[in-house]
Structure formats: structure tokens, C-alpha cells
């Protein structure tokens, strides 16, 4: 399986993602933001980081990069595009995903483990996943998901909510919401479910010596589903 990770100036989880994808069997390539063409890929990943220093608005400048046109064409042709953290912010800025990511409710950067409940398994990302509650890691300043009432209705009607912050038992409640996100949203799909944006970093939880290895389940499932 071929994957491509795009590097923007200021990306800083690109290597971590490369390590994770390769560990679980992807044949991964790193793609520079100024390139025009994407190599043949089964999966394109926009990694975490601070593209363009998060200046202006997180993800907004990266969304105008040369490579983005190819990414959008890839999305339109049904290709799988995954955005983690800053990658999620970029996908929103390109209009590939609805809504906005605001500053965290308490105006502080948050780095910690969280539990997320998978809300929709009928897609290439989570089909047949062996657990529906994952312990993952967040590290962000702007992860407070927000959209209008009309938008959230559409998102719910189309079953586009991918992940919600929860407790270990999968109970979704404001108590377990680390950043003020609407309806505890941690990740969403586009309508076709080929684009997934999520704040948690599965690539940081890929072996038991780190703070956990539920990220492994995420990548294993993704690889199986693409196969």
C-alpha cells in the first residue's frame, strides 16, 4: 500500500507519521508542499505541526500550497485523505471538511491522553476495528471544534461525526471534553467519508513503551481496510 505524507513549512509530526505508516506496512513517501503532483497513493496524510507557524489562522496559509490542488483532485476521485491535528485544521481551511477549529476553551495548550469513542464504523478508516473506544493523545492549542447549527444538523444527518471525546467506558459527556468542542467532536468525515480530520495523534501511541498502543489498532485497521 502506498501512502504520501505532505510536509509543509512548520510541519513537525511528519517524521512520526512516516515512522508509524512504515511500521504498519505502508510504503510511504514524503512530499514537499511546493510539489505539484502527488505520486500514486492509496492514502494521503496531512501531518500535525505548526504549518507557517500557525500565523494568520491555523492551516490557512498551508491550504493555499501548490500541492493542495492535487490533494483536492485526489479527494474528488475518492482517495483517502487523513489530517491529524494541524492536518485537520488545513483540511478545514481548504473546505474539504466543514466547520472550524477555535482556540481551546481554557486558552491553554493541552498535551495529554484522552479516550475517544468511534461514532461511525461504516468507512475505510474504522470498518471492523477491534475496539470502539481508543486511548489516544492530544497536543494542541486550537482543537475546539465549532460549526453553525445548520452545519451540525447536516453533519449529524450524514453521520459525519467520526470520533468524540469520552471516558474509558465510552460515555460522552462535557466532563470528558478537553477543549470545548461542540458535541465533544474529536474528528469528522466529509460527506463521502473518504476524508477524515482528527485532533488526536494515533502516531504517538504505537508501542507499549510509549504511553499506550491504541494508535497501532488505528493503523492496522486502516491498512486492512485499504487492502
Amino acid at each position: 500500500m502506498n501512502s504520501s505524507v505532505i510536509i509543509f513549512p512548520g510541519s513537525n509530526c511528519d517524521r512520526d507519521m512516516d515512522v508509524a505508516l512504515k511500521k504498519f506496512g505502508f510504503n510511504n513517501q514524503m512530499i514537499w508542499h511546493n510539489d505539484v503532483d502527488l505520486p500514486k497513493s492509496d492514502l494521503v496524510v496531512l501531518p500535525g505541526g505548526f504549518s507557517y507557524g500557525d500565523y494568520l489562522r491555523c492551516g490557512s496559509i498551508a491550504a493555499k500550497s501548490k500541492i493542495i490542488e492535487s490533494v483536492i483532485n485526489f479527494i474528488n476521485s475518492g482517495g483517502l485523505v487523513l489530517g491529524i491535528c494541524n492536518g485537520f485544521q488545513i483540511l478545514i481551511e481548504t473546505g474539504s471538511l466543514p466547520g472550524a477549529l477555535l482556540r481551546n476553551k481554557y486558552l491553554e495548550f493541552i498535551c495529554k491522553n484522552v479516550f475517544v469513542k468511534i461514532n461511525n464504523q461504516k468507512n475505510s478508516y474504522f470498518k471492523s476495528i477491534k475496539k470502539d473506544i481508543l486511548e489516544l493523545h492530544i497536543a494542541h492549542n486550537e482543537g475546539n471544534y465549532f460549526c453553525t447549527q445548520d452545519e451540525i444538523k447536516q453533519i449529524e444527518d450524514n453521520n459525519q461525526i467520526a470520533l468524540c471525546y469520552s471516558n474509558e467506558q465510552g460515555e460522552i459527556d462535557e466532563k470528558y471534553n478537553p477543549n470545548g468542542s461542540l458535541k465533544n467532536i474529536a474528528g469528522i468525515f466529509n460527506k463521502k467519508k473518504n476524508v477524515l480530520g482528527m485532533m488526536p495523534h494515533p502516531e504517538r501511541m504505537i508501542d507499549k513503551y510509549l504511553s499506550g498502543d491504541d494508535g497501532s489498532i488505528f493503523f492496522e485497521t486502516l491498512l486492512n481496510n485499504i487492502n
Partner: protein, 730 residues
């Protein structure tokens, strides 16, 4: 403007120093030249008050590749891997503007590390604030934490450890010390020594602006009421540009284009160009019209003194200019050839076709003054005599809870959860333990690092205090299963022109030297920050020690959380019940006098090495060194981290419960072991003459001591984990 004595004094030089400059030059310097002298001769760059004493520190060792004198120290960690590391202060700017001051402190230390060709892999910090009651403390803490996070998080380097202290002696002068570790192939280390004639001098990175002019001389000034007016001397950080600079530099370093490289830190272009030329015994010629400037009509004086961030100076091989430029273009960074190396051994600066400075480099470096300032030995204070009456109204559980929630002991999670500590995917021990641990990417090795200071001990008796910090750093390494390798020190002191402060400095350094020599734990880098004084009120002597150790097999790393019910708890090292200067004496008995606990280097080394052997042999399940707060606080932290309780036995040879549980005797550890291994463990401990006793057994929930103490983990957690969050949200 014609330079005179008054102008020189305004630049921070002493009258006698100005006289000496005129003598050496055989003329009066012009303003630009005076700027060079004021930058190079100030305390921050010249180490004029400290040099004499720093020479006494042990800096060599089998694993030391580079000691002090370079951008950072380098140690060998086996195979072809080396770790580059250093700690540095950014105290004065952080008090004036906490966010930018702290952020640029972090940025500066990371540049020191990647200048040497290393990719930064971990950040740590040691921060000291005034009393929690002081009106500025909260804002300063918030600003500093956000500044450290803002820079490190954006760079994508995990912040894996640190320490935070509060004491009223920092009310007018906070401390922000930042430490970075980087990983490099030991055959691909870059140094700052220029070599070869007519080699191009390259400027890369951000443009030069008017920010930070006189930053280095501000760092060596005493604060007064008008300190806020110094805000323009604080630099503004841009971590995004630094991230690009890091990637671009490492890309250029992949081959052999670079002869020498140095970051533009304190005193900017002045110190970087002069130091590179000085080390190579060369001259340097600069054309300031070529320097990329952010603002219009900057003068040579301003360009030479600017401390704009995220800039590097490179001496390049001839013919490599095009290739290098391409890399910096790719990363959207400025690249300019601003001069060349010469044989004159002088710095010659041109601006608008005029020569605006012409000074022999030796005058700026080797001829800088060196002072043997007055100091005298500090007497060991007399021991307090505590008696039963002092303790009669105290309950062990109340004392424990009070200490666990003390600002200097409580959990600092509110701070470190604002730092990205997991990026790079190799953090195997997060903040909150004895040391942060990151794997050496792609290998079975891991590196442990911690930062420590003990200002109360140092204030009471500097010599003992200096020794103690090194020992504590060493114990932190041992406790996570790492072989301690080397340290970096950041020496924060008051005004060296005062005998008391100078004495504190000299004896702390002596103590550090003695312990590091005995433990074979050499000092490979560091910096000195004097003049931490506001309105005649100096800080307590606060050397911070950053320690680095190696774990050969990261799977054998140890953490402090208790692991298994039924396992035994041992105390390693002898408990005499030393109460003076303990947090118990200071906070509960309100007795702030008396000597710090004595350091026995033989026991320290023997206990540490034996514990490490037990870890390597796989006998230890969890470990924690006993430091501030004593045995019971250490046990409570292990309980909290592992979410398990302990049934404590009545200790042998007990004089008094309070002295036993809260005394701060040194050289001690708590370890968790399995019952079945006890015979073998006993054999090893006895063979090595290590004093130990079995203090209890792990249980499901509470910490219990028959008739004396019964406290739940939840109560412990509540005491320990809520104080700081509550304080900051009020």
C-alpha cells in the same frame, strides 16, 4: 559622536575598563568599536568574575567529546551516537516580558544545540518565581509557561522535564533556565572554530532588526524601578523561522560545506563573528551593507548589537555558496555573504564603503578583564535542637498533606500539560518522574535528563548545597535506571561585586566541582548569570544542574509508580533524621535556620552504583530518590503515581517519627522489589556494604502505619494535584 568615559559607563563598562580599552587601542574607540567592547567585555560574554573559579570544575572524562567553550557540550553514548546538551539562563528578559523572554530562552538554547549539527530531541527547564502571594507571580508564571510551550511546541521538540520553585527571594528577579539535548553522529559534529583564509562568511536566518540591542549588557545589570523601560531590549521570538532554520542547517550539514558555524545569541553578530575568528586565530572582515535588515537605515552600531533571533553565522568552504543558497531559498530564509576570513587577526567592519571599526580580536577576547573578586568561606550554621515539644501538636497525616500541597512539592501538571511532551514519538518517561526519558530514535538506547536546584541548601551553606545538587541529579539518573554521564550547569547568583554573593558563587562552584569529580559526572557546558538583584535584594544562590544519563536498553527503564501489590519496599541509605533546612522544618516548624543535610560522597556513589546494578539485574520494579520532604513524601508520590497503597512497618532504630519520615538525609532511595528476590538482593546490598531496611509492603489502597497514619490515595492525590491548578484559576 565622540566617545568619552560617560558614554562608556552608559554602556556598562567601568571607568577603569574604559581606560584600559584606550590604552590597548592606543586611541579612543569610536562608537561602533565601543559597542564591540561593551558586548565582549561584559560579564555575560567575558565571564570576567567567574572564569577564575570555573577553571576548577572537572570537565574531562572518558565519555566527554567536547567540554565547555563550544556552543554546547558533547558526550559519547556509544555506537556512533553523541548527545549535545547545554542549559542557559534567560532571567532578566523573562522578568520584563515573560512570554517572549522565556520563548527566546528556549529558542536560543536549541540553536546552541543544532549549531553543532545535532537534532534537538528533548527540552527541559528550571524556573523560579517569587512568593505565591506576590502580586506578579501568577502572571509571570503564566507568561513563562506559555512562552516555553509556545516555542518548544511549535518547534516540535518534546519538553520532557523540569522543576518549578517559589521563594520570595525571586520576587523581583525570576529565573528561567532552559536546557536542550540533541542527537548527533559523533563523526559529524560541527564546531565554531573558523579555519582558512578568504572563506566566505555567510549570514542565514531571520533579518536583523532593532530588537534586543544591549540585551547582553542588560543581562549583566541590576534591576531598579525603571526596569519596565527596558522592554525594547527583550527579543521577540519566531519559532516558525527557527524550525525552518533547523531543517535548513541540518540539510546543509549533511555534506562538508561548512567549516564553522555559530548561532547569533547574546551580543548577536558581534560575539558570533569575533568568537569564530578568535578560535581560528584569524581575522574577519564584514560588510554591514550586505546584512539583511528588517528596518530602514540601521546603523553599524545597531546591526552589530542587535539580538534579533533565529540567525546563524557560517564560515563556508569556497565554491559551496550556490549550493548552500539553494537550501536556504527552499526554506524561505535569508542568505547573504557578508564578509570573509582574513589573516589580519583583526575585526574590520565596513559600512557604506567606510571602515567603521578596526580592532585586533585579541583585545576583545583574551584581553578582556578577569577579576579575582573578594570572597570568604561561609561557616556551617549551628544545628537546631528540636525536642518532643516541637512536635507534640502535629499529626503525621496532616503534615504529609500539607507538604504534598506545598507549592514547591505539589504536582506541576498544570505546567507540563501545556508543553508538548510526546512529539517525536520517543518519550518513554513523561514529566512528573525523577527524569524525563527519550529513546535514541531507531535504537534500543534511551537518554534520561533532569534539572535540579536547591536554593535553600545553597543559601544556608553554599559548599554543601553545591555538592547536594550534583548528588541529587545523579540520583535522578539512577532512579530511572540510567548511568549518569555528565552535567551542564546554569549558575544563577546575585551581584558578584558584593562579597556575600561572590562567596556564595565560589563555594557553590567548589561544591559542584567536588561532587562531580568524585562521582565522575563532569561538567561539559553551562552558563553564569550574575546580577540577579533588584533594588539591592539579591536572589538566593541558585545553581541549576542539568544531568544526562544513558539507558542501554530502554526496556529496562524504571519509573516511580508502585507496580504490584505484595511487593516489598526498601529504603536504601541511612536515615539519621536530619531536619534542619528540610521542608518540614521550614514550613511546618517555621525554623529557617540551621545547616543543610551533610553530603557523604562515598555513600552517595556506593548506594547509587549498587541501586543501578540491582536495576540492571532486573531486581527493581520501581524506584524513587528521597529528596525534599523525606521518606514519607517520596512514598506518597510513588503511591500516587502507581495508584497503590503501602503498609509501613514501624522503622528500626527510630528516634522520632517526624524526624524519621520528614528528615532529608542524603544518598537515599526507595525501591520496590519482589519478595522472592529478597535473598539475592540482600546479598548484593550486603556485599557492597549498602545500608538498607525494609520499610513496608504494597497494598491495594491506603498508606497505613499502625496507630499513626491511615490515608487514602485519593486524599494524597487531592493534596498533591490540585494546589497549582486552583492557584492559577483564582
Amino acid at each position: 559622536m565622540i566617545v568619552n568615559e560617560k558614554i562608556a559607563v552608559d554602556h556598562g563598562l567601568k571607568k577603569s575598563e574604559f581606560k584600559e580599552i584606550c590604552n590597548l587601542l592606543k586611541r579612543v574607540p569610536n562608537l561602533t568599536e565601543l559597542a564591540l567592547f561593551s558586548a565582549m567585555w561584559n560579564e555575560h560574554c567575558s565571564y570576567k568574575s567567574s572564569k577564575l573559579h570555573l577553571k576548577k570544575l572537572p570537565t574531562a572524562g572518558k565519555k566527554v567529546i567536547q567540554g565547555p567553550g563550544e556552543n554546547a557540550g558533547v558526550i559519547d553514548i556509544g555506537d556512533e551516537d553523541a548527545i549535545v546538551f547545554k542549559i542557559e539562563s534567560h532571567n532578566h528578559p523573562s522578568f520584563i516580558e515573560p512570554y517572549q523572554g522565556a520563548a527566546t530562552g528556549v529558542g536560543g538554547i536549541m540553536r546552541d544545540v543544532f549549531t553543532m549539527g545535532a537534532r534537538p530531541i528533548a527540552n527541559l527547564n528550571s524556573i523560579h518565581f517569587g512568593s505565591t502571594q506576590h502580586k506578579k507571580t501568577k502572571n509571570l508564571l503564566r507568561g513563562v509557561v506559555q512562552g516555553i510551550g509556545g516555542y518548544g511546541n511549535c518547534m516540535g521538540i518534546p519538553t520532557v522535564g523540569g522543576q518549578t520553585c517559589f521563594d520570595e527571594s525571586y520576587n523581583g528577579n525570576i529565573l528561567v533556565n532552559a536546557m536542550t539535548l540533541g542527537l548527533v553522529n559523533k563523526n559529524k559534529i560541527f564546531y565554531s572554530k573558523a579555519a582558512g583564509l578568504n572563506k566566505p562568511i555567510i549570514y542565514v536566518g531571520s533579518k536583523t532588526g532593532r530588537d534586543g540591542i544591549h540585551g547582553a549588557s542588560m543581562a549583566s545589570a541590576i534591576f531598579d524601578d525603571q526596569i519596565e523601560e527596558k522592554k525594547p531590549t527583550v527579543q521577540v521570538g519566531d519559532p516558525f523561522t527557527e524550525k525552518l532554520l533547523l531543517e535548513a542547517c541540518l540539510e546543509l550539514m549533511a555534506d562538508d560545506s561548512i567549516i564553522a558555524i555559530q548561532d547569533m545569541g547574546a551580543a548577536g553578530l558581534t560575539s558570533s563573528s569575533i568568537e569564530m575568528a578568535s578560535k581560528g586565530k584569524l581575522g574577519i572582515e564584514l560588510n554591514l551593507n550586505k546584512v539583511p535588515c528588517r528596518e530602514l537605515s540601521m546603523t553599524p552600531y545597531e546591526i552589530m548589537l542587535s539580538e534579533s533571533q533565529e540567525r546563524m553565522l557560517i564560515v563556508l568552504e569556497n565554491g559551496k555558496e550556490e549550493k548552500a543558497k539553494k537550501i536556504f531559498d527552499k526554506w524561505n530564509l535569508d542568505f547573504a555573504i557578508i564578509g570573509k576570513t582574513t589573516s589580519t587577526k583583526k575585526i574590520e567592519i565596513y559600512f557604506e564603503k567606510n571602515k567603521v571599526a578596526d580592532v585586533p580580536i585579541e583585545l576583545l577576547t583574551n584581553k578582556a578583564p578577569e577579576y579575582n573578586r573578594k570572597w570568604k568561606k561561609t561557616k556551617l550554621p549551628t544545628k537546631n535542637k528540636f525536642n518532643k515539644n516541637d512536635y507534640k501538636n502535629l499529626k503525621i497525616s496532616d503534615v504529609l498533606k500539607k507538604i504534598l500541597s506545598n507549592p514547591n512539592i505539589c504536582s506541576k501538571e498544570w505546567i507540563w500539560k501545556q508543553y508538548d511532551h510526546t512529539v517525536m514519538g520517543d518519550t518513554i518517561q513523561r514529566p512528573g518522574g525523577d527524569a524525563g526519558v527519550v529513546r535514541v530514535h531507531g535504537t534500543s538506547k534511551a537518554v534520561a535528563a533532569s534539572v535540579d536546584s536547591s536554593a535553600d541548601y545553597c543559601f544556608s551553606h553554599p559548599l554543601t548545597g553545591g555538592k547536594q545538587i550534583v548528588c541529587e541529579s545523579w540520583r535522578n539518573m539512577i532512579s530511572v535506571g540510567a548511568q549518569p554521564i555528565a552535567i551542564t550547569n546554569c549558575l544563577n547568583f546575585g551581584n558578584p561585586e558584593k562579597e556575600k554573593n561572590m562567596s556564595e558563587f565560589v563555594e557553590c562552584v567548589e561544591g559542584i566541582g567536588e561532587a562531580s569529580k568524585y562521582l565522575n559526572y563532569p561538567v561539559v557546558s553551562g552558563n553564569v548569570s550574575f546580577y540577579n538583584e533588584t533594588k539591592n535584594q539579591g536572589i538566593k544562590p541558585t545553581p541549576s544542574i542539568g544531568g544526562v544519563g544513558l539507558i542501554k536498553d530502554y526496556k529496562k527503564m524504571i519509573s516511580m509508580g508502585l507496580k504490584k501489590v505484595g511487593n516489598l519496599i526498601l529504603v536504601i541509605g541511612k536515615t539519621e533524621g536530619h531536619i534542619d533546612q528540610s521542608i518540614f522544618a521550614r514550613e511546618i516548624l517555621n525554623q529557617k535556620k540551621g545547616p543543610p543535610p551533610e553530603i557523604n560522597l562515598f555513600n552517595e556513589k556506593n548506594n547509587g552504583e549498587t541501586v543501578l546494578k540491582l536495576i540492571t539485574d532486573g531486581f527493581i520494579k520501581s524506584a524513587h530518590d528521597i529528596s525534599v520532604g523525606g521518606i514519607l513524601v517520596a512514598l506518597a508520590k510513588m503511591s500516587i503515581n502507581g495508584n497503590k497503597g503501602i503498609n509501613i512497618k514501624k522503622p528500626q532504630n527510630l528516634v522520632n517519627y517526624f524526624e524519621y519520615f520528614f528528615g532529608e538525609d542524603q544518598g537515599r532511595y526507595i525501591i520496590e522489589v519482589e519478595k522472592n528476590d529478597m535473598d539475592k538482593i540482600k546479598y548484593i546490598l550486603e556485599k557492597n556494604s549498602v545500608y538498607f531496611n525494609e520499610i513496608g509492603i504494597i497494598e491495594e489502597k491506603n498508606i497505613v502505619l499502625k496507630d499513626k497514619l491511615n490515608i487514602t490515595i485519593d486524599e494524597l492525590i487531592k493534596s498533591n494535584k490540585t494546589w497549582l491548578t486552583n492557584y492559577m484559576s483564582k
